[in-house]
Subunit: 694 residues, 2 copies
């Protein structure tokens, strides 16, 4: 991989003297960025571009070229790649489009391309990408011209599925004064994919922060385990969230569509900050270059009361506390400066102090007096004499930031030219939006106070009891009683039941269980039993039982479609409690996922569910319950006793264990799980094993 | 008011030759912006600033000065104002701070100031503001220096409670190429307030869009009735949303705190777009300068597939539909240009077309073929040769925009200098963030497809029945039976009841109503009856009734604290249905507000409530039900019959009518209101009249 980012020599294939030749832009970029290695050009017609002679074929290249960059019609690429292989070239960037993203024929070409690369033990970037930029050595391979003046070298590397987006990041990072280090547009990822690049960038000493722009996440689990274990901050912008974007995402980079709620949960669990826009991603990167924020206490200092109010709104929205300013600090500041100019409030309003030279001292004094976890200074100034003093202030804050190891976020409101002046004056990131600054501080806090908790999947299959083996091998594992049995095998408490096939045994079972009871017709074919008349609840006595049994048996016969009737479940009714739904499924990209939500009709009506990747820790499970919007229902409202949250946590851990231990379980739902004042009880369940999905 | 924005002459009071004199900046600004009227300076010491002589007193000013601008210590302001009055000056801008926002002494000074102004029939801007800018005539009165180069004249006027924010708006509007017209920082609003300024700007021919930045809304109802009736778009950024920001908001401009949920509902109802940040407000203003968006059909055209995916996500989030592209359009484009370069998808990906001259033709052809309600073109380009063609493209789109009267939003990703070049090339607004562009189009669509529906409050009190009069005059109006009686008087269906005081009459009442019944102890002192043991539900027979009556009577005696026991309510239990809560309250700024939400424990746990200002139309009431997150619970889930939504709508209209007709009702709650398969029934209610709030 190192030779892809730091090649000693590059051959660009597809160059011509025609003014609209795109490969010539690659030569142009390499020269404009001062790339120090050898640059060769290959094209159909002899000539030269930007002083580099065009060689007629790959064969005519000198020996020892490190990297080939190919931009020719798709159909020619496998042949050219083979020629590169023969020439000893072991790395290629394929910028051409027309592969999997375009047509079935393109898909075949891509397969051919991969086979050729494999046969030469060659690694490929792309195809269908605008490739790689490394600001460290001037390697700039996009086929669109990039202006070196508009790019700034810095600590942030970018991995993007889209070429256009990678350039947008490069320019935004540079304009925001932060700068980019390495930029990769991955294209179709026929060979090298985000995991390969991310592994490299996380180990790259020049990269301090990684931004990923992704439209589809194929090996989500591995990607996030990688990110979770890394000491460097990772920011992900995951687009292609809805149905409308899925089609275009596929057609332009052959991306698959992920369940966005799973993506969200997985990123949070991996300690990865999710950005919703390019601007937000860049702001988060700015925040990660500050010293870490290790708590919720924020001090806001502002020249304008209005900006302070906006900042206080943002602070509250992002879970910061505005600590009170000690009274003696106010006295101290009064003595330092003029009388009565500062009220001891947080936000601290400096509107009445016009000497910016004092601001640095006030910031220093207030850090000392208030000891916040982060400080946000909102500085508003005009051009002219104020600008020069503001640059001094920014420099001073930059020193403070380093010397005190405290995160000082500076948000500047001034003319654009003046803000650029600040950026020239200091390495301190300059924010230009209050919300962005506060969001960036919050992301740093989250990273440093809520460490990544994505636990790896076990490498070896776990041991299972004979009972579990037997249950999983049954054809009717999706039926309530078998699914409840499976739950029970994992120590999930269930409401007692018996399966009967006639009136008399139903009567005996009900008497043994104790009234009231419920009847449930057992049918693996029916997923909504209530709708099919297969469920009667609250049966109070033998008379009601008789009528219910007759009705359920009839419904069962009707729905069983010539299959043998399995029987009727008589189940004890559990009084009281609150209905929850607990479920697990296997995401194709992220693996086993746990779900909890309000049960009954509310789970459907309100969509109040919380997801987490398995395996769960007890802390994860507790957090899941705390993140439910309707959590207060479990806490005991209006003087009611609280439900036994730890019992629900135990059930979540058990379902997590079940998913990990039984890879063939594709989906399992306990619906409802009753949370009780003491304990919990699974009332109904459904499991889907292997390909049994109905 | 016209003389405030277009004065023939200005006198600045508080000027000195000292280099840190702020009033001198006002003189500087007036000269730098080429203000054409006479400029006078008044200060304690003779001298001159920027060539203008400093006169020793207000008295020494010439006659006929239109506007005084005062920036002197607070204590001197009332006296100076009186001197201005004597001199015939009838308008003053008071920039000094130190009034209500600062201290009690300051509040007295502000009262004195107002009394002085009234005595001279003088109108006041401020105090505690950085005042007024009019780009039409160069009137630029802030005490901070403003750079004329950084400001651009345009169609957007700004009203801001904060001075710093007003300047931020001025600079952002200018940098985004849109430009500002009039900018007002209102300060403490001791005399002129947002209603006065908004009235003026809505009538001002040079103002096309108004942006308001507010921290507290004092006469919300009047402000929004004004905005709702205006043909010009109004954008509001309302800060001071949480507790943390309230203190600083008060201390810097003496703003009160509003209930943010009421603000949100009121703005939507008035057809006002709410912006969450400065950038968003400016983007919305950009959108409002395009031809109106009159439907949900959006066509996205992009050079980069990645940007297209991000745009499709945003379109879906903002309720746009991406219309399919007709197959023949794809054929047509293939013939127009090269074969197979464009797939007929929306977003339309132009990544394979490198000749920007074709883009304008493709946009025109696709508008014709697809007939969308709006088109978003995302244009990504590099500097050099692409930049010049991009400017031509922007000009072409600007013409299309005008000629076809279709909203074309252009979002450009390029180096900042290049974007500035586009802005010089065309008046078409250039967006620089996809989300911002889509949000702006959505705001235009909302404005043009969902007209403002804020209905004015009746000017005269409505007639009321004798029964209503009698109920409202009762001391115990907060008690369930009286509140339900009040509901019933407004034709709200209620569950039948009787009030009894002994076992025997309870038995008779229960028999008459029919079992099951509920018992409720009537006590105006207790607001949570269930918690106090005053409620027993589902009483099935006489035996249970006896026990329940004894228990409730005992609880009632315990809670009545020596007051006469009012009695016990025997109420018919209404079977089935879904619990809702319907309420009304009187907001100090916005007047009567209606509320509906899921009832029972869910209203508290999920906070799923929808608000609207009264009086409601039937359409408003229907929308309220549709906006509940849990609305599907009423629609009949899993094969259950739907609830009678129109009956709930009738109840909402009745409560609206009650609030309008009975101004002394401060608050009323029907909790629960049962929505039934047919009809609805109020089960419990509470009303608070006048100062009876407990």
């Amino acid at each position: 991989m190192d030779k892809i980012f730091y090649p000693g020599s590059v051959a660009v294939v597809g160059v011509s003297e025609r003014p609209d030749n795109l490969a010539a832009n690659i030569i142009h970029n390499l020269l404009a960025f001062g790339y120090g290695g050898d640059v060769h050009a290959v094209g159909l017609r002899a000539g030269q571009v930007h002083g580099i002679p065009i060689l007629p074929s790959v064969r005519s290249l000198p020996e020892g070229v490190d990297l080939a960059v190919i931009l020719t019609p798709a159909a020619t690429v496998p042949g050219l790649l083979d020629a590169c292989g023969q020439k000893g070239i072991r790395r290629a960037v394929i910028e051409s489009g027309g592969f999997t993203e375009f047509s079935d024929a393109g898909r075949h070409l891509e397969e051919e391309l991969i086979a050729t690369a494999r046969s030469w033990d060659m690694r490929i970037v792309g195809p269908n990408c605008i490739s790689v930029i490394n600001t460290e050595n001037g390697l700039c391979l996009p086929f669109a011209r990039i202006d070196p003046e508009a790019t700034r070298q810095g600590p942030v590397s970018v991995l993007a599925q889209s070429g256009g987006v990678s350039i947008t990041y490069l320019i935004l990072l540079s304009e925001m004064g932060l700068g980019a280090n390495k930029v990769v547009s991955m294209g179709n990822k026929a060979d090298l994919n985000e995991i390969d690049y991310l592994t490299y960038l996380l180990a790259d000493p020049a990269t301090e922060v990684v931004c990923l722009y992704l439209e589809g996440i194929e090996q989500g689990r591995s990607l996030l385990e990688l990110a979770a274990s890394a000491p460097k901050p990772v920011i992900v912008q995951k687009a292609n969230r809805g149905r409308a974007s899925a089609q275009i995402a596929f057609s332009h980079t052959a991306a698959l569509t992920n369940d966005d709620a799973v993506v969200d949960a997985a990123l949070r669990q991996a300690g990865v900050a999710r950005a919703q826009s390019f601007d937000e991603a860049v702001a988060l990167a700015q925040g990660f270059t500050l010293p870490p924020v290790v708590g919720d206490d924020l001090l806001i200092v502002s020249r304008s009361g209005g900006h302070a109010v906006v900042a206080a709104d943002a602070a509250e929205a992002h879970g910061f506390r505005l600590m009170p300013i000690p009274a003696d600090f106010a006295t101290q500041v009064r003595h330092m400066f003029r009388a009565n100019v500062i009220a001891p409030t947080n936000p601290l309003d400096l509107g009445a102090i016009f000497d910016f030279n004092l601001y640095g001292r006030i910031v220093e004094a207030s850090l000392d007096a208030v000891q916040p976890d982060a400080l946000l200074l909102i500085h508003t100034y005009s051009s002219g004499p104020e600008a020069a003093v503001s640059e001094q202030l920014a420099r001073h804050l930059g020193h403070l930031n380093r010397d005190l190891d405290k995160p000082l976020a500076l948000c500047a409101f001034a003319q654009r030219d003046e803000v650029e002046g600040l950026r020239r004056a200091t390495d301190l990131p300059i924010f230009i939006e209050i919300e962005a600054a506060v969001r960036a501080l919050a992301a740093s806090r989250d990273r440093h106070t809520r460490p990544a908790r994505l636990r790896p999947l076990p490498s070896a299959p776990a041991e299972r009891s004979e009972k579990v083996e037997a249950l999983l091998s049954r054809q009717d594992v999706s039926t309530t009683d078998v699914a409840l049995d499976l739950c029970s095998s994992f120590d999930i408490p269930v409401a007692e039941w018996a399966v009967v096939t006639d009136q008399e045994s139903a009567r005996i079972a009900a008497t043994n269980l104790g009234y009231p009871v419920a009847l449930k017709g057992l049918s693996p074919q029916v997923s909504h039993k209530s709708d099919a008349g297969l469920v009667v609840l609250d049966i109070a006595d033998g008379e009601q039982l008789r009528a219910a049994f007759t009705a359920v048996s009839a419904a069962l016969t009707e729905h069983s479609h010539h299959q043998a009737v399995r029987g009727v479940m008589v189940q004890r009714m559990v009084p009281g409690g609150r209905e929850l739904i607990v479920g697990g499924k296997r995401d194709p990209s992220f693996g086993p996922v746990l779900m909890v939500g309000l049960g009954g009709i509310y789970v459907e009506a309100l969509d109040d569910v919380v997801l987490r990747l398995a395996p769960l820790s007890r802390e994860d499970a507790r957090e899941m319950l705390e993140e439910m919007r309707g959590r207060r229902i479990l806490h005991g409202m209006r003087g009611e006793p609280p439900m036994d949250l730890e019992a629900v946590v135990d059930v979540l851990l058990a379902v997590s264990n079940l998913l990990i231990t039984c890879p063939e379980v594709v989906e399992i739902d306990i619906n409802p799980l009753l949370a009780l004042e003491k304990g919990a009880a699974a009332i109904d369940a459904r499991a889907i094993v292997g390909s049994q999905r109905t």
